[in-house]
Symmetry: C2
Subunit: 543 residues, 2 copies
């Protein structure tokens, strides 16, 4: 039980007190359930510990609490309990609990403001003007090529953000977004977990041909580590693959784009996961040595490593691992274009879990292809490894730009307590090799800068890649607010979330297929739409 005085704002310092009874606590997140209770859960990595799951429960003392959402401003006073779920829950109505202001606690923890002004009329008009282009004109940026690719750690281009760099970040962000757009999430589909379209049609169908890249290979992954909620599976017994999911793709700039940016750019885009709360629950945050033979102190999260390196002869799509698939293709492309006498660069991108895989991929590529400029542009990525892993990344010359929304919990994971900010720990334990550490440069975005976004707590909304792209599009500098001349279509924010302010009248999570893929056949019967033969995955064609 955690004792705090009335009206105390809950901070990480309070939570870290848990360490006294729970040796390693490496996951913390906040969510609101259907009921009025808000829980902050901390998993101990010691699974066998009898009190391994802890919960902070904010119980509204309002008698109508079943119809009352505690994040709303009118839910004023509440009681804070800290208990293990294996213990008896507190007796809400008898307990003379400590009164706390829930909105203040949550907003303090997550840096959310609960007060705000109304949406400026100009912006509302702006956003409802539906007859303007959604992108700025393309300019030749070859004069800045090495800098835009991070050669100097992007230092002169970030504050204020150079318009050319903003445009490049959005390009890679849309390549990452494509891995979600084209993923078959439908368990009723026999191809659930695959890409909906074959690689020659992918960019055309998603409207991304304007970026001037061609997809050259699809990447599939499996995991030997049990990671529930990670793998999407078909309900059908006879499916395209029982073990693997489509995990991303390799693409390369065409001649025109190569001229524009001044370099033949190979892109690898890694798919993440849409529901952070689900896979974060399962993310044990267990560091595992990166090398097999102890040749390095580098350690990385074992779940990420498993997805990146697992393979099995009994599978159809992972007789080779994701790592082997992607490295073979990168090496092939580098050899081919270098053979043509061209300058070649590699940019690895991904959102969330995809950002973690991007870092592993960039590390491997830089180590195995000498002289190849490698950069990572990740969005909302969690920590991946320890300090030694970060040192290796830096020593290999890999440039990492981490785009991070301040309110997003995922980049705080794993290691919310044991991370790079704990400076004294090494002196105490000498075990800094077991502490997670972020790598590279951070471009820090803030939900509060955008007048289009709701500021209320929304775990999935803060983490959504379209929220990130919206904020990148409006970003000017650390000090400035959202730029008024941003052109990206704001409606996209609500494609997979409900982050847009309701005044904008854009439906929430509007991405959905007509009739969930049911179509009426010639006999008048409703049946599942069959996938076009050219889009059916094939292990011979795809990998």
């Amino acid at each position: 039980m955690l004792h705090v005085k009335p009206s105390t704002l809950l901070t990480e310092t309070h939570l870290s007190l848990l360490n006294t009874s729970f040796p390693i606590i490496n996951i913390i997140y906040v969510y609101s359930s259907e009921s009025s209770d808000i829980q902050i859960q901390c998993n101990s990595s010691t699974k066998k510990h009898p009190y391994s799951l802890m919960a902070l429960t904010f119980c509204s003392t309002n008698s109508h609490h079943h119809h009352h959402h505690p994040l709303l401003p009118n839910s004023t006073k509440s009681t804070l309990y800290l208990h293990s779920t294996t213990q008896t829950p507190p007796q809400h109505h008898r307990h003379s609990g400590i009164s706390l202001n829930i909105p203040s606690i949550i907003s303090n923890l997550l840096h959310i403001s609960t007060t705000r002004n109304s949406i400026p009329e100009l912006l509302l008009t702006n956003s409802t003007n539906k007859q303007t282009p959604t992108s700025s004109p393309k300019e030749s940026i070859s004069s800045l090529q090495p800098e835009l690719h991070g050669s100097a750690n992007w230092s002169p281009l970030l504050n204020p953000l150079h318009p050319w760099l903003r445009r490049e970040i959005l390009k890679y962000g849309e390549f990452s977004q494509a891995t979600y757009e084209a993923f078959d999430f439908d368990p009723f589909s026999e191809y659930c977990g695959s890409c909906l379209y074959n690689q020659s049609r992918l960019f055309e169908i998603l409207g991304l041909t304007r970026h001037g890249y061609n997809v050259t290979k699809y990447i599939y992954a499996m995991s030997h580590v049990e990671l529930p909620k990670w793998l999407e599976r078909s309900l059908h017994a006879d499916t395209w693959s029982k073990d693997s999911n489509w995990m991303g793709y390799v693409a390369v700039s065409d001649d025109a784009e190569t001229r524009r940016i001044g370099c033949r750019d190979i892109v690898v885009a890694w798919r993440g996961t849409v529901s952070p709360s689900e896979w974060l629950e399962d993310l044990q945050g267990k560091l595992e040595p990166l090398g097999d033979h102890g040749e390095t102190d580098a350690k990385v999260e074992h779940g990420f490593l498993s997805i990146y390196t697992s393979k099995s002869d009994t599978t159809r799509y992972n007789k080779s691992s994701a790592s082997e698939q992607v490295m073979e293709e990168i090496k092939r492309l580098v050899a081919y274009y270098r053979g043509n006498g061209e300058e070649v660069s590699l940019t690895v991108t991904g959102h969330s879990l995809g950002g973690a895989l991007a870092l592993l991929n960039a590390h491997e590529a830089a180590r195995s292809i000498p002289g190849l400029p490698v950069s990572v542009i990740s969005f909302g990525a969690p920590r991946v490894g320890n300090e030694a892993f970060g040192d290796e990344i830096r020593d290999l010359g890999v440039k990492v730009l981490r785009v991070v929304v301040k309110q997003d919990m995922v980049p705080k994971l794993p290691g919310i307590f044991l991370n790079e900010r704990i400076e004294k720990l090494e002196a105490v334990t000498g075990e800094l090799e077991w502490v997670y550490k972020h790598v590279g440069l951070e471009l820090n975005l803030n939900i509060k800068t955008s007048p289009y976004l709701k500021h209320g707590f929304d775990l999935a909304g803060f983490h959504n890649l379209e929220t990130y792209l919206h904020l990148v599009d409006g970003y000017v500098s650390e000090q400035a607010g959202y730029r008024l001349n941003a052109r990206r279509d704001g409606a996209l924010v609500n494609k997979y979330s409900g982050m847009l302010r309701s005044e904008l009248k854009i439906p929430v999570c509007w991405n959905q297929s007509a009739n969930k893929g049911m179509v009426r056949n010639a006999y008048g019967r409703w049946v599942q739409l069959e996938r076009a033969p050219e889009d059916i995955p094939s292990p011979h064609r795809d990998c």
Copy 2:
């Protein structure tokens, strides 16, 4: 607090014990919330009573109850509490509560079997055969016209169900279903609450032209009685109508269909509500005299009557009431076809609330148009009025066939305690005029007969009109099971519900529009699809 012995099956008799402290209890329903608790709620009609809302809460004693659905067979023992929500909730873990078997209680109350056989292979094959027609051949049925229209109360045609009558019931059921299919439920649409298509295109777009009817008029309704959750409203300030909703339509058989059935058939189809739990909460079950001047003892539920009769000069669509709109059109059609020397009949149909409105409409039509054969075919309709109202319906010669699914709660409402089964009440109170009474003949369907349907508790699924139509299509007689040669497309059951067994692999509630109506315009921006000009409602054209 209700005291029952361990393993007692909860029945209406138990619940009626509540009457001792709560004089009139007129609503009861069972629902399962997101959490594991199952609540049976009873509203007292005395709103000011301090204990007006009662709840029976089944609390799972399973420690993992947050992840545990109590209707699943493995949730064995639970505790039954009865309490007012204004009192302190019971202390779950300390209370030595009465142990009851939840599945048995619920199944007993709702006549659901919790044990069942697996789906017969033949039926599964049958249902997955997607290359068969969805309807049986049409035959001339004019030789049985008066009987099919109910002249002899359908008595020789119901047990077993005559195939011609089954086909006619399905025809009227599809006319009722059309009022849902074509209703604009989207609050982001400025035409929310209207019909999506104009009357000349309605049947064509819904695939109903095969029935051989033409729509002649749309009916709009408003309500002076506060009925929250009844009226669908647009989020837009500038909308087609702030007060009225599209409530149904009048159609008439064409020459070919008239020859086939042997009569010029006028159909009125009334729209119901999709979420029974929502409007039932608000249904106060208050009987109101039908006539203005006390010329009759007939009383009907005041909410239904308000929707049927309300009008206001300040509205665009209800300067005349639904009653006036529909009666004017019926009279016009009857006069026109009688003027041609034709036999004319009126069939009023509707589901749920629509079935209640159908009864009011049939009553009025029979009273004001002498010699017109009037019948009602309703689906899952609640009770509408008292015994005197039922007597008037019968004396007017209106034939009523109520199609009722045994497990559906809506036909048990209003008046679950005070209904036609209370025979002794009159002797005690002399107030039978305040007791609800069903009218006409019942065709009783049973979820359990269909091998395609889940048998678990599903308030919305039991009530869904597509569930009704599926059961009508398979109905043979009171004794026989589901017929194997039923042809209606089974996938339609899941269009608005999740009643189909998962082995059939049909997505749940698959009715949805592509991207919630968002489309990409010529500038690449996602915007709300605008309605075609010819489908924009107009008070001059429509009514």
